[in-house]
């Protein structure tokens, strides 16, 4: 989780990712940010986030992103 938070901090340093629950719906992360995030996740966690997972629900909070990574790791 800490690794994920540090990736997120690199994208938007001023967001409190522990509490934020509307990263996509609140327009904090845009599509460019999501792609940067996904490619970082691919690098660091060795999981492929495909387009079908790219829905707001999976990216609205750090926890949701973390759950997605866990799920993809389980699927591997």
């Amino acid at each position: 989780m800490d690794e994920l938070i540090s990736i997120l901090k690199e994208i938007h340093p001023d967001v409190d990712y522990e509490t934020a629950t509307n990263l996509v719906d609140g327009k904090i992360l845009d599509s460019f940010d999501i792609i940067s995030l996904v490619s970082e996740i691919a690098e660091q966690f060795d999981v492929v986030v495909s387009a079908e997972h790219m829905i707001p629900e999976n990216f609205n909070s750090a926890q949701a992103i973390w759950n997605l990574i866990q799920k993809l790791e389980d699927d591997e």
């Binding site: 599509s31 792609i35 996904v38 492929v48 387009a51």
Partner: protein, 541 residues
């Protein structure tokens, strides 16, 4: 049957009345029938295209859904078999099940691809064949050949870009398991052809629209009233502002040799107003009609001209098209195998900074190229799309510079800076739209250049504005109309304007207001050249 024709208004009144009179079971079939009748009036031949796209995507969706159900059942069965020890050696184990799952997914992917290629193939043939021939002929002439290919005589079916995208989105969503496929062919046909949004969108998602589309809605005076208010607001924008502005815009762009310099700036501003009023007005009519039937349709605009930058503007203008491109092109392209490989390669060889950006920028380029060509099969639209790409990329690259600037100069919340940002958005977007106006790439560049080389501001005062097909009263109407548009838009920043009116104004006052709006539309609508509003009203009696 144009939205602004009497036939259409009569058609909508009849349809809405029938919708509420007919029994529950007949409501959605009525909408399907109505949608096909509406489309029939656009040209009976066009019915074949919409029917073909509907059949192709319906079958693709159904096959994907069926495969998914079968594969899930078999997967569960394999799991159970292994637990009870009854699985064959090839089928036992997590790996074997994973292989099975993936092989089935591949099958679904193949069905989706065939469906998309066929549906988009129809669009490609009718929309892009002549553009391709035109370019081939150009290449032939460059190489000195006198051979020329003949053009296809094919009319572009109304709304085909919209309903094809909607149908393709449906197939992808079924593949992505966002929802099941619609088994009832006729219900699906209604989703593709729902008449208010057939001509110019919004491009709805099945998951958003379907439930309410097929639900029989009981009559509600309030729903009808609110829908009607929205329709009226749309007609005001369309016939009082857009259709009036159109006359001057056409006069200016039809004579580029005469109207240079400051007049190009006028084209920018006039066309921004015309397009905004035309498109958002049309969507207001669409959403309003659907609302009258109790069906909520996704919003397509969110006060776009109040955006801080172009990227934000594109999140607020033609929203359903933007999200379509993001979900179905930008994301899949960005995370596709080759793109991830490119990302790895470029990080290694070109450094972290470039490596991170290259895939995103390449995917953006593809999206903007497609956005351009989706708008029209000609180079001016492609250059317009790529122009947007360039501006967005430049502003991305300048972000560190902006950050430095904002550290030194505190602009947070300052009205002056916000106004500057809004002004910049309006100017940039309007300048790019010149490609849409002049429809010729070299001419557009030339005309844009004249704004800086031909200083003819003074000539504005010599009455040239009165030679553009508009008289003084037209400009007064346009001026007041624009003020009303901006005021309503600002009023709507904190929520629905209609909600506010409902809370603040008693019913008679509200009706008074909307009757006034109706009268304004009837009296001040620009009903085509050669008519003046007074004559038109007189003819009605």
């Amino acid at each position: 049957m144009l939205f602004t024709s009497y036939e259409f208004i009569g058609f909508v009144i009849l349809l809405v009345a029938l919708y509420y009179v007919l029994p529950k079971k007949a409501k959605w079939p009525l909408l399907l029938l109505g949608s096909y009748v509406f489309y029939y009036f656009a040209g009976w031949k066009f019915l074949f295209y919409i029917a073909a796209v509907t059949v192709i995507t319906y079958v693709a969706g159904l096959l994907i859904s069926r495969n998914k159900v079968r594969a899930d059942a078999r997967f569960a069965e394999l799991k159970a078999l292994e637990k009870s020890g009854g699985a064959s050696p090839e089928e036992a184990g997590k790996e074997a099940r994973k292989r099975y799952k993936e092989s089935q997914k591949k099958k679904r992917r193949r069905i989706m691809t065939i469906g998309i290629v066929l549906a988009l193939g129809i669009l490609a043939v009718v929309k892009y064949t002549n553009f391709t021939i035109h370019n081939i002929n150009g290449i032939l002439s460059v190489f000195g050949s006198s051979k020329r290919l003949g053009f296809l005589e094919i009319a572009l079916p109304m709304g085909i870009s919209f309903y094809t995208f909607q149908a393709v989105g449906y197939v992808i969503d079924v593949y992505r398991d966002r929802h099941e496929a619609q088994k009832n062919f006729f219900k699906y046909a209604l989703f593709v052809s729902f008449f208010p949004q057939l001509v110019q969108g919004p491009i709805s998602r099945y998951g958003d629209l379907s439930k309410e589309l097929f639900t029989p809605h009981a009559f509600s005076g309030r729903v009808l009233e609110r829908g009607f208010q929205r329709v009226l607001w749309g007609y005001f924008k369309k016939v009082v502002i857009a259709d009036r502005m159109l006359t001057a815009v056409n006069a200016l762009i039809d004579a580029p040799a005469t109207y240079k310099g400051v007049y190009v700036f006028l084209v920018m501003m006039f066309y921004a107003l015309e397009l905004y009023a035309d498109f958002t007005g049309g969507i207001d009519i669409t959403i309003g009609i659907a609302e009258m039937l109790g069906i909520p349709v996704k919003e397509n605009f969110e006060r776009p001209f109040f955006s801080k930058n172009i990227a934000e503007y594109w999140r607020r203008w033609h929203i359903t098209m933007g999200t379509w491109f993001t979900d179905y092109i930008f994301y899949p392209v960005s995370v596709s195998g080759p793109m991830l490989k490119l990302s790895k390669w470029s990080r290694k060889h070109l450094g972290e900074k470039v490596g991170k950006r290259l895939p995103v920028y390449l995917a953006s380029f593809i999206v903007w190229f497609t956005t351009g060509i989706w708008h029209g099969a000609s180079w001016n639209f492609i250059v317009w799309g790529l122009g947007n790409f360039v501006v967005i990329m430049i502003s991305q690259e300048l972000e560190p510079l902006y950050a430095k600037f904002h550290k030194r100069v505190k602009t947070d919340g300052s009205t002056a800076y916000k106004t500057f940002q809004v002004g910049r958005t309006v100017l940039l977007m309007s300048a790019l739209r010149l490609f849409d106006c002049y429809r010729d790439v070299p001419l557009t560049f030339k005309m844009f250049g004249t704004m800086f080389t031909t200083w003819n501001w003074k000539s504005l005062g010599s009455g040239t504005l009165m030679h553009l097909g508009l008289v003084r009263s037209d400009y007064v109407i346009l001026g007041i109309g624009t003020i009303i548009l901006i005021t309503v838009s600002m009023f709507g920043r904190s929520g629905s304007v209609r909600d506010k009116l409902e809370k603040k104004l008693p019913l008679p006052a509200r009706w008074g207001l909307f009757t006034a709006l109706l009268l304004i539309i009837v009296i001040f609508g620009a009903y085509g050249q050669g008519y003046d509003a007074a004559q038109f009203i007189y003819n009605q009696f």
